[in-house]
Amino acid sequence: MSTVTEPLIEVSNLYYAYNDTPVLDHISFSIEKGSYVGIIGPNGGGKTTLLKILLGLLQPKSGTVRVLSKSVSDLKDKYRIGYVPQRVADTNIQFPATVQELVESGLTPKKPFFGTLSLKDKKRIEEVMHLARIEPYKNRLISKLSGGERQRVYVARALVSEPQILLLDEPFVGIDVASQNQFYTLLQELNTKEKLTILFVSHDIDVISSQVKQLLCLNKRIVCKGEPQSILESEMVEELYGKKVTHLHHE
């Protein structure tokens, strides 16, 4: 067996455009197992588009995108990529489902039609609910939760299918700071203990820089990539946003 480990995500010369307007151009990067990467950049810089391409929701106009050693379009077991979409905490709040029902639904893509939950599945559901600290209100309707609690439910749902990669798209819009901090702690645990590879799209450069191991700065092309501290100390951020950016340093 080969000992050379292939990167979990490998993007090479990716180009994407909406109609004729380029959104991503000359994008090449790779992400190794266990990485914790923050993707930053101005609005319209292509952050969400990049995630959607990694998920196979959008097809690249040119270039190659390989995820989990396969071209995204050939990837059958897509549940191995967990995804928490943008503004998910605000959408479909009135949906009459409980926390547990939603977390359980994360296993659906793994199940055939008419599939029932095994004992192992039920154990996994309990496990992720415990991990995301949502166990105490597992029988509550999602409409009765706060934005932060709901956010953790969606993360638990993304985790229940035991993904190897977790993609988060600005999950903190409309969520209070205390909940954000709890959430960052959870992500740190997942990254260090479970070796989960995380890609986190955020507009909050300072907070995300204090959390992740690497930053990927995106403004239609990759402006910079590397350790957060060295990027913040360079002029790269200014180039990324096209103006002077004031930093608040978080310890």
């Binding site: 959607k52 998920l55 196979g56 929701l57 990837l75 059958k76 077991d77 897509k78 549940y79 990529i81 995804y83 979409p85 998910v88 959408t91 479909n92 009135q94 949906f95 009459p96 489902a97 409980t98 029902e101 939603l102 639904s105 659906t108 893509p109 199940k111 039609f113 008419f114 599939g115 029988n139 309707l141 299918s161």
Partner: protein, 266 residues
């Protein structure tokens, strides 16, 4: 008090009604949470074209309705998923367009006949043995499909894009849901009538949402509200000598109004 059951047509009406009462709110809840409440009404109007076509050609109206609404279901889903039109506008297009077509077809048959009206407003007296058999087979097929696809339909109803990202066959599932709606409409129209089918699918689901403590419990409550409405409606319409379809829907509305006043979820 139960002398109505001495009539065969009443027994057939209650049997068909009970089946309709069970499946309508199940499909209805999925439509409501997907913000597709008007889908049932739209397919009901489309099925009028099938009924009209069957009546002038001598075919079975329930089968005619089923064919018309399934064809339309594919058209609606195609236009909706291609995002060329706003979701609601696709429904408006099919709803009014098919009504126009049905009126023309019936006009060609030299005037709207009584039989056609019985499909518009429901007529339990006309439920034949064959109708009951068709209703029972289609109803059981709907229930079976729902059981098989429950988890998948739950997932796409909550978040379609996420379902796509997770590799679920979203297009197929959407078509299954619309075909299930079409089946339910065809099965229900003899009892409540084409113009009121939508109400039987949507109103009990809305009532159940007021009380449901989980998705499954909401489904069960929806079935209870709907089944009770059908049985109470059929029973009282017989003794009050009023239209059964209208009475059933008025009972669903009564339950809904009460649920708004006494809403445990607050």
């Amino acid at each position: 008090m139960f002398d109505l059951f001495t009539y065969d047509f009443m027994i057939r009406a209650f049997l068909a009604g009970a089946l309709v009462g069970i499946i309508a709110p199940i499909i209805g809840l999925f439509l409501v949470v997907r913000r597709y409440s008007l889908m049932a009404d739209t397919l009901a109007h489309v099925s009028l074209v099938g009924v009209a076509g069957a009546l002038i050609s001598g075919g079975n109206p329930v089968v005619g309705a089923l064919i018309a609404s399934i064809l339309a279901a594919f058209g609606i889903e195609h236009l909706r998923s291609s995002r060329k039109l706003y979701g609601e506008s696709v429904l408006a297009l099919f709803l009014s367009g098919s009504l126009a077509l049905a009126v023309i077809i019936m006009g060609l048959a030299h005037g709207i006949n009584v039989n056609f009206l019985s499909y518009l407003f429901g007529s339990i007296v006309t439920v034949s043995q064959l109708d009951l058999l068709v209703i029972a087979s289609l109803g059981l097929l709907t229930l079976a499909l729902m059981v098989v696809c429950y988890r998948q339909l739950f997932f796409i109803s909550f978040d379609e894009e996420l379902a796509k990202a997770n590799g679920l066959p979203v297009k197929l599932l959407n078509i299954i849901l619309i075909v299930l709606t079409a089946l339910t409409v065809s099965v229900s129209m003899r009892i409540v009538g084409i113009l009121l089918v939508g109400a039987l699918m949507v109103i009990p689901a809305l009532t159940a949402i007021q009380y449901g403590k989980s998705f499954k419990k909401t489904l069960v409550l929806g079935v209870l509200f709907s089944l009770s409405s059908v049985l109470i409606g059929l029973y009282s319409s017989y003794y009050l000598n009023v239209a059964s379809g209208g009475t059933i829907v008025v009972v669903t509305l009564l339950f809904f109004t009460i649920s708004l006043i006494f809403n445990r979820k607050g």
